[in-house]
Amino acid sequence: MLQLSIFLENAQGRLADALNTLADLQVNIRALSLADTKDYGVLRIIVENPEEVAEKLRERNCVVKITQVWVLKVPDSPGGLAGQLNKLVAEGVNVEYMYGFVEKENEQAQVVLRVRDAEIMQAAMDKLALK
Protein backbone atom coordinates (compact mmCIF):
# COMPACT_ATOMS: atom_id res chain seq x y z
CA MET A 1 0.00 0.00 0.00
CA LEU A 2 1.27 3.48 -0.82
CA GLN A 3 0.87 6.37 1.58
CA LEU A 4 1.19 10.09 0.85
CA SER A 5 3.09 12.32 3.27
CA ILE A 6 2.73 16.07 3.01
CA PHE A 7 5.02 18.61 4.66
CA LEU A 8 3.10 21.31 6.51
CA GLU A 9 4.33 24.36 8.31
CA ASN A 10 2.99 24.62 11.82
CA ALA A 11 1.01 27.78 11.17
CA GLN A 12 -2.63 28.55 11.67
CA GLY A 13 -4.81 27.35 8.81
CA ARG A 14 -2.17 25.28 7.03
CA LEU A 15 -3.80 21.94 7.80
CA ALA A 16 -7.17 23.30 6.73
CA ASP A 17 -5.59 24.61 3.51
CA ALA A 18 -4.14 21.21 2.73
CA LEU A 19 -7.46 19.47 3.41
CA ASN A 20 -9.29 22.02 1.26
CA THR A 21 -6.90 21.27 -1.57
CA LEU A 22 -7.62 17.55 -1.23
CA ALA A 23 -11.36 18.33 -1.22
CA ASP A 24 -10.96 20.40 -4.40
CA LEU A 25 -9.20 17.45 -5.98
CA GLN A 26 -12.15 15.19 -5.00
CA VAL A 27 -9.85 13.00 -2.93
CA ASN A 28 -11.39 10.80 -0.28
CA ILE A 29 -9.12 10.21 2.71
CA ARG A 30 -9.42 6.66 3.98
CA ALA A 31 -6.95 6.94 6.84
CA LEU A 32 -4.96 9.80 8.28
CA SER A 33 -2.37 10.68 10.86
CA LEU A 34 -0.70 13.96 11.72
CA ALA A 35 2.76 14.01 13.26
CA ASP A 36 3.82 17.38 14.51
CA THR A 37 6.71 19.31 15.97
CA LYS A 38 6.91 22.92 17.12
CA ASP A 39 7.65 24.25 13.63
CA TYR A 40 6.14 21.80 11.21
CA GLY A 41 4.13 18.67 10.80
CA VAL A 42 3.78 15.75 8.43
CA LEU A 43 0.30 14.81 7.26
CA ARG A 44 0.14 11.14 6.28
CA ILE A 45 -2.86 9.91 4.31
CA ILE A 46 -4.12 6.79 2.58
CA VAL A 47 -6.10 7.58 -0.59
CA GLU A 48 -7.18 5.98 -3.86
CA ASN A 49 -4.73 6.50 -6.77
CA PRO A 50 -1.92 7.87 -4.57
CA GLU A 51 0.47 8.56 -7.47
CA GLU A 52 -2.06 10.63 -9.34
CA VAL A 53 -2.97 12.61 -6.23
CA ALA A 54 0.72 13.20 -5.43
CA GLU A 55 1.29 14.65 -8.89
CA LYS A 56 -1.65 17.03 -8.52
CA LEU A 57 -0.45 18.16 -5.09
CA ARG A 58 3.04 18.81 -6.47
CA GLU A 59 1.51 21.02 -9.14
CA ARG A 60 0.11 23.04 -6.26
CA ASN A 61 3.57 23.45 -4.70
CA CYS A 62 3.13 20.85 -1.96
CA VAL A 63 6.11 18.77 -0.93
CA VAL A 64 4.79 15.21 -1.14
CA LYS A 65 6.50 11.92 -0.59
CA ILE A 66 5.16 8.51 -1.46
CA THR A 67 6.10 5.80 1.00
CA GLN A 68 5.38 2.13 1.20
CA VAL A 69 3.27 1.11 4.21
CA TRP A 70 1.39 -2.00 5.28
CA VAL A 71 -2.25 -2.14 6.32
CA LEU A 72 -2.86 -4.82 8.89
CA LYS A 73 -6.26 -6.10 10.00
CA VAL A 74 -6.37 -6.62 13.76
CA PRO A 75 -8.85 -8.40 15.98
CA ASP A 76 -11.17 -5.79 17.50
CA SER A 77 -10.64 -7.01 21.06
CA PRO A 78 -8.31 -6.30 24.01
CA GLY A 79 -4.76 -7.39 23.14
CA GLY A 80 -5.61 -7.76 19.45
CA LEU A 81 -3.01 -5.35 18.18
CA ALA A 82 -0.41 -6.45 20.74
CA GLY A 83 -0.77 -10.07 19.61
CA GLN A 84 -0.21 -9.21 15.94
CA LEU A 85 2.67 -6.92 16.68
CA ASN A 86 4.43 -9.47 18.88
CA LYS A 87 4.46 -11.92 15.99
CA LEU A 88 5.98 -9.32 13.65
CA VAL A 89 8.63 -8.28 16.16
CA ALA A 90 9.62 -11.91 16.55
CA GLU A 91 10.28 -11.97 12.79
CA GLY A 92 12.66 -9.00 13.10
CA VAL A 93 10.30 -6.24 11.98
CA ASN A 94 11.24 -2.76 13.20
CA VAL A 95 8.28 -0.35 13.27
CA GLU A 96 8.93 3.33 12.48
CA TYR A 97 5.41 4.50 13.19
CA MET A 98 1.81 3.35 13.02
CA TYR A 99 -1.71 4.66 13.24
CA GLY A 100 -5.08 2.96 13.48
CA PHE A 101 -8.39 3.37 11.71
CA VAL A 102 -11.65 1.49 11.35
CA GLU A 103 -12.84 0.41 7.95
CA LYS A 104 -16.46 1.50 7.72
CA GLU A 105 -17.92 -1.34 5.64
CA ASN A 106 -17.47 -4.14 8.11
CA GLU A 107 -16.25 -2.16 11.14
CA GLN A 108 -12.89 -3.93 10.85
CA ALA A 109 -10.08 -2.44 13.00
CA GLN A 110 -6.93 -1.83 10.99
CA VAL A 111 -3.52 -0.25 11.46
CA VAL A 112 -1.15 1.39 8.99
CA LEU A 113 2.42 0.35 9.63
CA ARG A 114 5.60 1.96 8.39
CA VAL A 115 8.65 -0.22 8.93
CA ARG A 116 12.40 0.19 8.70
CA ASP A 117 12.98 -2.70 6.28
CA ALA A 118 10.34 -3.54 3.69
CA GLU A 119 11.83 -6.92 2.77
CA ILE A 120 11.76 -8.21 6.33
CA MET A 121 8.17 -7.03 6.67
CA GLN A 122 7.08 -8.71 3.45
CA ALA A 123 8.72 -11.98 4.48
CA ALA A 124 7.03 -11.80 7.88
CA MET A 125 3.63 -11.07 6.35
CA ASP A 126 3.99 -14.00 3.94
CA LYS A 127 5.17 -16.35 6.64
CA LEU A 128 2.43 -15.40 9.07
CA ALA A 129 -0.16 -15.30 6.27
CA LEU A 130 -1.27 -11.84 7.39
CA LYS A 131 -2.79 -9.15 5.24
Partner: protein, 421 residues
Protein backbone atom coordinates in the same frame (compact mmCIF):
# COMPACT_ATOMS: atom_id res chain seq x y z
CA UNK B 1 59.31 47.70 -1.72
CA UNK B 2 61.03 49.62 1.08
CA UNK B 3 59.18 52.06 3.31
CA UNK B 4 60.93 54.98 1.58
CA UNK B 5 60.00 53.78 -1.89
CA UNK B 6 56.42 53.32 -0.76
CA UNK B 7 56.25 56.86 0.64
CA UNK B 8 57.71 58.22 -2.58
CA UNK B 9 55.03 56.46 -4.61
CA UNK B 10 52.28 57.62 -2.28
CA UNK B 11 53.50 61.24 -2.51
CA UNK B 12 53.48 61.01 -6.31
CA UNK B 13 49.87 59.85 -6.16
CA UNK B 14 49.00 62.68 -3.76
CA UNK B 15 50.61 65.21 -6.11
CA UNK B 16 48.37 63.91 -8.88
CA UNK B 17 45.10 63.72 -6.93
CA UNK B 18 45.59 67.31 -5.66
CA UNK B 19 44.76 68.38 -9.23
CA UNK B 20 41.17 67.18 -8.69
CA UNK B 21 38.99 69.64 -6.71
CA UNK B 22 37.33 66.84 -4.73
CA UNK B 23 40.61 65.45 -3.39
CA UNK B 24 42.07 68.92 -2.80
CA UNK B 25 39.20 69.65 -0.43
CA UNK B 26 39.35 66.25 1.33
CA UNK B 27 43.10 66.48 1.89
CA UNK B 28 42.87 70.04 3.23
CA UNK B 29 40.51 68.70 5.92
CA UNK B 30 43.44 66.72 7.37
CA UNK B 31 46.05 69.43 6.80
CA UNK B 32 47.63 68.05 3.63
CA UNK B 33 48.26 70.75 1.04
CA UNK B 34 51.44 69.43 -0.58
CA UNK B 35 52.72 65.89 -1.18
CA UNK B 36 55.53 66.62 1.30
CA UNK B 37 52.96 66.95 4.08
CA UNK B 38 52.77 63.16 4.12
CA UNK B 39 55.96 62.32 6.02
CA UNK B 40 55.06 58.84 7.21
CA UNK B 41 52.65 56.00 6.70
CA UNK B 42 50.80 57.30 9.78
CA UNK B 43 50.20 60.61 7.98
CA UNK B 44 48.93 58.71 4.96
CA UNK B 45 46.48 56.74 7.09
CA UNK B 46 44.84 59.97 8.24
CA UNK B 47 43.62 60.63 4.71
CA UNK B 48 39.84 60.20 4.52
CA UNK B 49 38.56 57.24 2.50
CA UNK B 50 36.83 57.74 -0.83
CA UNK B 51 33.86 55.67 -1.94
CA UNK B 52 31.30 55.28 -4.70
CA UNK B 53 29.17 57.99 -3.09
CA UNK B 54 31.92 60.54 -3.76
CA UNK B 55 31.81 59.63 -7.45
CA UNK B 56 28.06 60.04 -7.54
CA UNK B 57 28.18 63.41 -5.81
CA UNK B 58 30.83 64.63 -8.22
CA UNK B 59 29.18 63.18 -11.33
CA UNK B 60 30.38 63.07 -14.01
CA UNK B 61 33.98 64.36 -14.04
CA UNK B 62 34.61 65.82 -10.56
CA UNK B 63 37.35 63.32 -9.64
CA UNK B 64 39.31 63.67 -12.89
CA UNK B 65 42.83 64.96 -12.29
CA UNK B 66 43.57 65.90 -15.89
CA UNK B 67 41.62 68.14 -18.28
CA UNK B 68 39.28 66.39 -20.72
CA UNK B 69 41.59 67.16 -23.65
CA UNK B 70 44.12 64.76 -22.13
CA UNK B 71 41.56 62.01 -21.59
CA UNK B 72 41.15 59.40 -24.30
CA UNK B 73 38.64 56.96 -22.78
CA UNK B 74 35.71 56.81 -20.43
CA UNK B 75 34.23 53.77 -18.72
CA UNK B 76 31.23 53.75 -16.41
CA UNK B 77 29.19 51.46 -14.22
CA UNK B 78 25.68 50.53 -15.32
CA UNK B 79 24.10 52.94 -12.83
CA UNK B 80 21.34 50.56 -11.81
CA UNK B 81 21.31 51.98 -8.28
CA UNK B 82 21.61 55.65 -9.23
CA UNK B 83 23.84 57.79 -11.42
CA UNK B 84 26.56 55.75 -13.10
CA UNK B 85 30.05 56.07 -11.67
CA UNK B 86 32.31 57.50 -14.36
CA UNK B 87 36.04 56.94 -14.68
CA UNK B 88 38.47 58.39 -17.21
CA UNK B 89 41.81 57.36 -18.68
CA UNK B 90 44.65 59.25 -20.37
CA UNK B 91 46.65 57.59 -23.15
CA UNK B 92 49.33 56.68 -20.58
CA UNK B 93 46.69 55.18 -18.29
CA UNK B 94 45.47 52.87 -21.06
CA UNK B 95 49.05 51.77 -21.70
CA UNK B 96 49.64 51.20 -17.98
CA UNK B 97 46.42 49.20 -17.71
CA UNK B 98 47.44 47.03 -20.68
CA UNK B 99 50.82 46.32 -19.03
CA UNK B 100 49.15 45.48 -15.70
CA UNK B 101 46.75 42.98 -17.30
CA UNK B 102 49.54 41.51 -19.46
CA UNK B 103 51.75 40.96 -16.41
CA UNK B 104 48.94 39.16 -14.62
CA UNK B 105 48.17 36.97 -17.64
CA UNK B 106 51.86 36.14 -18.02
CA UNK B 107 51.94 34.83 -14.45
CA UNK B 108 48.88 32.76 -15.32
CA UNK B 109 51.00 31.07 -17.99
CA UNK B 110 49.49 32.84 -20.98
CA UNK B 111 51.87 33.66 -23.83
CA UNK B 112 51.93 35.14 -27.31
CA UNK B 113 51.13 31.63 -28.62
CA UNK B 114 47.68 31.71 -27.03
CA UNK B 115 44.40 32.40 -28.77
CA UNK B 116 42.26 34.34 -26.32
CA UNK B 117 38.50 34.53 -26.62
CA UNK B 118 37.39 37.66 -24.78
CA UNK B 119 33.73 37.03 -23.95
CA UNK B 120 33.39 39.83 -21.41
CA UNK B 121 31.15 42.68 -22.56
CA UNK B 122 32.80 45.41 -24.63
CA UNK B 123 31.55 48.93 -24.02
CA UNK B 124 31.24 51.16 -20.98
CA UNK B 125 31.97 48.10 -18.79
CA UNK B 126 35.74 47.70 -18.28
CA UNK B 127 35.84 43.89 -18.64
CA UNK B 128 36.04 43.41 -22.40
CA UNK B 129 38.45 46.14 -23.36
CA UNK B 130 40.59 45.65 -20.24
CA UNK B 131 41.35 42.05 -21.16
CA UNK B 132 41.56 42.93 -24.86
CA UNK B 133 44.35 45.50 -24.44
CA UNK B 134 46.15 43.26 -21.95
CA UNK B 135 46.19 40.32 -24.36
CA UNK B 136 47.40 42.50 -27.25
CA UNK B 137 50.17 43.87 -25.04
CA UNK B 138 51.17 40.27 -24.36
CA UNK B 139 51.12 39.50 -28.07
CA UNK B 140 48.37 36.89 -27.84
CA UNK B 141 45.83 36.51 -30.63
CA UNK B 142 42.59 38.11 -29.44
CA UNK B 143 39.07 37.19 -30.49
CA UNK B 144 37.01 40.23 -29.41
CA UNK B 145 33.68 38.40 -29.45
CA UNK B 146 32.15 40.18 -26.39
CA UNK B 147 29.37 38.50 -24.36
CA UNK B 148 26.37 36.51 -25.54
CA UNK B 149 25.60 34.70 -28.81
CA UNK B 150 26.53 31.37 -27.31
CA UNK B 151 26.33 29.15 -30.41
CA UNK B 152 28.67 31.50 -32.23
CA UNK B 153 31.01 31.54 -29.23
CA UNK B 154 31.27 27.75 -29.37
CA UNK B 155 31.68 27.61 -33.14
CA UNK B 156 34.52 30.16 -33.13
CA UNK B 157 36.08 28.56 -30.08
CA UNK B 158 36.29 25.27 -31.97
CA UNK B 159 37.18 26.67 -35.42
CA UNK B 160 39.77 29.21 -34.24
CA UNK B 161 41.21 26.86 -31.61
CA UNK B 162 40.81 29.25 -28.67
CA UNK B 163 43.12 28.26 -25.83
CA UNK B 164 42.04 30.87 -23.28
CA UNK B 165 38.50 31.90 -22.34
CA UNK B 166 37.78 35.19 -20.53
CA UNK B 167 34.25 35.69 -19.20
CA UNK B 168 32.17 35.61 -16.02
CA UNK B 169 32.26 32.24 -14.22
CA UNK B 170 28.49 31.82 -14.59
CA UNK B 171 28.79 32.32 -18.35
CA UNK B 172 31.55 29.70 -18.42
CA UNK B 173 29.11 27.21 -16.87
CA UNK B 174 26.44 28.25 -19.34
CA UNK B 175 28.91 27.62 -22.18
CA UNK B 176 29.61 24.17 -20.71
CA UNK B 177 25.86 23.40 -20.76
CA UNK B 178 25.52 24.65 -24.31
CA UNK B 179 28.54 22.68 -25.46
CA UNK B 180 26.71 19.47 -24.60
CA UNK B 181 23.49 20.68 -26.23
CA UNK B 182 25.38 21.40 -29.44
CA UNK B 183 26.63 17.84 -29.43
CA UNK B 184 30.23 18.87 -28.83
CA UNK B 185 32.61 17.74 -26.12
CA UNK B 186 35.49 19.50 -24.40
CA UNK B 187 37.82 17.37 -26.54
CA UNK B 188 36.60 19.27 -29.62
CA UNK B 189 38.12 22.41 -28.09
CA UNK B 190 41.67 23.45 -27.33
CA UNK B 191 40.84 25.47 -24.23
CA UNK B 192 43.38 25.19 -21.44
CA UNK B 193 42.89 28.21 -19.16
CA UNK B 194 39.94 30.40 -18.15
CA UNK B 195 40.23 33.90 -16.67
CA UNK B 196 37.01 34.44 -14.76
CA UNK B 197 35.83 37.44 -12.79
CA UNK B 198 33.36 40.32 -12.52
CA UNK B 199 31.16 38.38 -10.09
CA UNK B 200 31.69 36.37 -6.91
CA UNK B 201 32.13 32.62 -7.33
CA UNK B 202 32.88 29.63 -5.16
CA UNK B 203 35.41 26.80 -5.08
CA UNK B 204 32.59 24.42 -6.04
CA UNK B 205 32.01 26.46 -9.19
CA UNK B 206 35.72 26.39 -9.95
CA UNK B 207 35.79 22.60 -9.67
CA UNK B 208 32.74 22.28 -11.89
CA UNK B 209 34.13 24.58 -14.60
CA UNK B 210 37.51 22.86 -14.53
CA UNK B 211 35.99 19.40 -14.92
CA UNK B 212 33.41 20.26 -17.54
CA UNK B 213 35.63 22.39 -19.76
CA UNK B 214 38.89 20.56 -19.00
CA UNK B 215 40.76 23.75 -18.09
CA UNK B 216 42.41 25.59 -15.22
CA UNK B 217 39.98 28.22 -13.97
CA UNK B 218 41.64 31.33 -12.52
CA UNK B 219 40.15 34.28 -10.68
CA UNK B 220 40.70 37.85 -11.84
CA UNK B 221 39.79 40.89 -9.74
CA UNK B 222 39.40 44.56 -10.39
CA UNK B 223 36.96 47.43 -10.34
CA UNK B 224 36.53 50.33 -12.71
CA UNK B 225 37.16 52.88 -9.94
CA UNK B 226 40.72 51.68 -9.54
CA UNK B 227 41.39 50.63 -13.17
CA UNK B 228 39.28 47.69 -14.25
CA UNK B 229 40.15 43.98 -14.42
CA UNK B 230 43.73 43.11 -13.60
CA UNK B 231 44.16 44.74 -10.19
CA UNK B 232 44.89 41.18 -9.12
CA UNK B 233 44.93 37.76 -10.75
CA UNK B 234 45.67 34.21 -9.68
CA UNK B 235 48.80 32.53 -11.00
CA UNK B 236 48.94 28.79 -11.74
CA UNK B 237 50.10 28.06 -8.19
CA UNK B 238 46.56 28.93 -7.07
CA UNK B 239 47.54 30.42 -3.71
CA UNK B 240 45.64 33.68 -3.99
CA UNK B 241 45.37 36.64 -6.32
CA UNK B 242 48.60 38.55 -6.84
CA UNK B 243 48.05 42.31 -6.60
CA UNK B 244 49.84 44.29 -9.29
CA UNK B 245 52.66 46.52 -8.07
CA UNK B 246 50.80 49.63 -9.26
CA UNK B 247 48.32 49.29 -6.40
CA UNK B 248 48.80 49.76 -2.70
CA UNK B 249 46.31 47.67 -0.68
CA UNK B 250 45.16 48.21 2.88
CA UNK B 251 42.75 46.06 4.89
CA UNK B 252 40.51 48.02 7.22
CA UNK B 253 38.20 46.96 10.01
CA UNK B 254 34.69 48.39 10.26
CA UNK B 255 35.96 51.40 12.24
CA UNK B 256 38.51 52.27 9.57
CA UNK B 257 41.57 50.96 11.43
CA UNK B 258 44.28 49.36 9.32
CA UNK B 259 44.54 45.65 10.09
CA UNK B 260 47.77 43.66 10.08
CA UNK B 261 48.73 41.16 7.36
CA UNK B 262 46.50 38.11 7.13
CA UNK B 263 43.48 39.59 8.91
CA UNK B 264 40.15 39.86 7.17
CA UNK B 265 38.49 43.18 6.45
CA UNK B 266 37.60 45.61 3.70
CA UNK B 267 40.06 46.11 0.86
CA UNK B 268 41.05 49.75 0.30
CA UNK B 269 43.16 50.57 -2.75
CA UNK B 270 45.47 53.40 -3.73
CA UNK B 271 46.84 53.52 -7.26
CA UNK B 272 50.36 54.46 -8.33
CA UNK B 273 51.26 56.08 -11.66
CA UNK B 274 47.66 56.64 -12.73
CA UNK B 275 47.03 60.11 -14.18
CA UNK B 276 43.47 60.75 -15.38
CA UNK B 277 41.60 59.18 -12.51
CA UNK B 278 44.04 58.44 -9.71
CA UNK B 279 42.62 56.58 -6.73
CA UNK B 280 43.49 57.47 -3.17
CA UNK B 281 42.31 55.14 -0.40
CA UNK B 282 39.31 53.96 -2.40
CA UNK B 283 36.86 51.71 -0.51
CA UNK B 284 36.20 48.62 -2.63
CA UNK B 285 33.60 47.28 -0.16
CA UNK B 286 35.07 43.84 -0.89
CA UNK B 287 36.06 41.64 2.02
CA UNK B 288 39.38 39.82 1.84
CA UNK B 289 42.78 39.53 3.52
CA UNK B 290 46.27 40.22 2.18
CA UNK B 291 49.76 38.84 2.72
CA UNK B 292 53.16 40.09 1.59
CA UNK B 293 55.83 37.94 0.02
CA UNK B 294 57.10 36.37 -3.15
CA UNK B 295 55.78 33.50 -5.24
CA UNK B 296 57.58 31.06 -7.50
CA UNK B 297 55.65 32.54 -10.45
CA UNK B 298 57.83 35.64 -10.10
CA UNK B 299 55.40 37.87 -8.27
CA UNK B 300 56.73 39.82 -5.32
CA UNK B 301 54.51 41.95 -3.13
CA UNK B 302 50.93 41.68 -2.02
CA UNK B 303 48.62 38.72 -2.56
CA UNK B 304 44.94 38.77 -1.68
CA UNK B 305 42.47 36.00 -0.95
CA UNK B 306 39.48 35.44 -3.19
CA UNK B 307 36.75 37.99 -2.41
CA UNK B 308 34.10 36.11 -0.48
CA UNK B 309 31.72 38.87 0.48
CA UNK B 310 30.88 42.56 0.34
CA UNK B 311 30.80 45.01 3.24
CA UNK B 312 27.22 45.91 2.32
CA UNK B 313 26.12 42.35 3.09
CA UNK B 314 27.75 42.08 6.49
CA UNK B 315 25.60 41.55 9.57
CA UNK B 316 26.89 41.95 13.08
CA UNK B 317 25.23 39.39 15.31
CA UNK B 318 26.25 39.31 18.97
CA UNK B 319 29.39 41.14 17.97
CA UNK B 320 30.36 38.54 15.36
CA UNK B 321 30.66 39.51 11.69
CA UNK B 322 28.36 37.30 9.68
CA UNK B 323 28.03 37.15 5.91
CA UNK B 324 25.02 35.56 4.22
CA UNK B 325 27.49 33.74 1.96
CA UNK B 326 28.81 31.84 5.00
CA UNK B 327 25.33 30.61 5.82
CA UNK B 328 24.82 29.63 2.19
CA UNK B 329 28.09 27.71 2.36
CA UNK B 330 26.82 25.81 5.42
CA UNK B 331 23.54 24.94 3.70
CA UNK B 332 25.31 23.75 0.56
CA UNK B 333 27.78 21.64 2.50
CA UNK B 334 25.01 19.76 4.31
CA UNK B 335 23.57 19.04 0.89
CA UNK B 336 20.28 17.80 -0.40
CA UNK B 337 18.84 21.26 -0.10
CA UNK B 338 18.33 23.83 -2.77
CA UNK B 339 19.49 27.07 -1.23
CA UNK B 340 16.24 28.97 -0.96
CA UNK B 341 16.75 30.46 2.43
CA UNK B 342 16.01 33.53 4.47
CA UNK B 343 18.08 34.87 7.33
CA UNK B 344 16.03 36.56 10.05
CA UNK B 345 17.93 38.55 12.64
CA UNK B 346 16.04 39.84 15.65
CA UNK B 347 16.63 40.89 19.22
CA UNK B 348 15.05 39.34 22.26
CA UNK B 349 15.82 41.42 25.34
CA UNK B 350 19.45 42.33 24.83
CA UNK B 351 20.37 39.26 22.85
CA UNK B 352 20.52 39.05 19.07
CA UNK B 353 18.83 36.01 17.59
CA UNK B 354 19.58 34.35 14.30
CA UNK B 355 17.01 32.25 12.52
CA UNK B 356 17.60 30.60 9.18
CA UNK B 357 14.49 29.55 7.30
CA UNK B 358 15.12 26.90 4.69
CA UNK B 359 12.57 25.69 2.22
CA UNK B 360 12.01 21.96 2.24
CA UNK B 361 11.96 20.39 -1.20
CA UNK B 362 11.39 16.97 -2.74
CA UNK B 363 15.02 16.00 -2.19
CA UNK B 364 15.26 17.02 1.46
CA UNK B 365 11.79 16.02 2.64
CA UNK B 366 11.54 12.81 4.53
CA UNK B 367 8.34 11.27 5.77
CA UNK B 368 9.90 10.56 9.15
CA UNK B 369 10.03 13.37 11.69
CA UNK B 370 13.22 11.89 13.11
CA UNK B 371 15.01 12.38 9.77
CA UNK B 372 13.74 15.93 9.43
CA UNK B 373 14.92 16.72 12.94
CA UNK B 374 18.32 15.26 12.14
CA UNK B 375 18.57 17.44 9.03
CA UNK B 376 17.65 20.49 11.09
CA UNK B 377 20.27 19.53 13.67
CA UNK B 378 22.99 18.98 11.05
CA UNK B 379 22.30 22.42 9.59
CA UNK B 380 22.42 24.05 13.02
CA UNK B 381 25.67 22.31 13.86
CA UNK B 382 27.26 23.31 10.54
CA UNK B 383 26.23 26.95 10.91
CA UNK B 384 27.62 26.96 14.43
CA UNK B 385 30.88 25.46 13.16
CA UNK B 386 31.26 28.14 10.50
CA UNK B 387 30.00 31.22 12.36
CA UNK B 388 30.64 30.24 15.94
CA UNK B 389 27.21 31.48 16.93
CA UNK B 390 24.05 29.49 17.46
CA UNK B 391 21.33 29.68 14.86
CA UNK B 392 17.85 28.27 14.87
CA UNK B 393 17.10 26.48 11.64
CA UNK B 394 13.45 26.36 10.68
CA UNK B 395 12.24 24.17 7.85
CA UNK B 396 9.50 25.90 5.87
CA UNK B 397 7.25 25.01 2.98
CA UNK B 398 8.41 25.50 -0.61
CA UNK B 399 7.75 28.90 -2.17
CA UNK B 400 6.91 30.32 1.26
CA UNK B 401 9.98 32.56 1.17
CA UNK B 402 9.06 35.62 -0.89
CA UNK B 403 10.70 35.76 -4.31
CA UNK B 404 11.82 39.03 -5.76
CA UNK B 405 12.66 39.92 -9.31
CA UNK B 406 16.37 40.11 -9.81
CA UNK B 407 18.49 39.66 -6.72
CA UNK B 408 16.97 37.45 -4.05
CA UNK B 409 16.29 39.04 -0.69
CA UNK B 410 18.22 36.88 1.74
CA UNK B 411 18.17 38.88 4.96
CA UNK B 412 15.53 40.45 7.17
CA UNK B 413 17.03 42.45 10.02
CA UNK B 414 14.20 43.10 12.43
CA UNK B 415 16.56 44.98 14.78
CA UNK B 416 16.67 47.82 12.26
CA UNK B 417 12.90 47.88 11.92
CA UNK B 418 12.59 48.08 15.71
CA UNK B 419 15.02 50.99 15.86
CA UNK B 420 13.00 52.88 13.29
CA UNK B 421 9.64 52.44 14.98
Amino acid sequence: MTQDELLLHLRKTIAQVLKAPYYKKRLAEVGIYYPGDVKSLEDFRKIPLTDKEALRQNYPFGLFAEPLEKMVRIHASSGTTGKPTVVGYTREDIQLWAKIVANGLRRAGITSNDVVQVAYGYGLFTGGMGLHYGCEELGALVIPISGGNTQRQLMLMRDFGSTVLCCTPSYALYLADSLEEEGMTKEDLKLRVGIFGAEPWTEQMRAEIETRLGIRALDIYGLSETMGPGVSLECLKGEGLHIDENFYPEILDKDGNVLPEGETGELVLTSFNKMGFPGLRYRTKDITSITYGSCTCGHTGWTMKRVSARVDDMLIIRGVNVFPSQIEEAILSVGGIEPHYLIVVDREGNLDTLEVQIEVNAASFNDEIRELEELQQRLQTKIHEILNIAARVRLVEPKSIPRSEGKAKRVIDKRKEKQLS
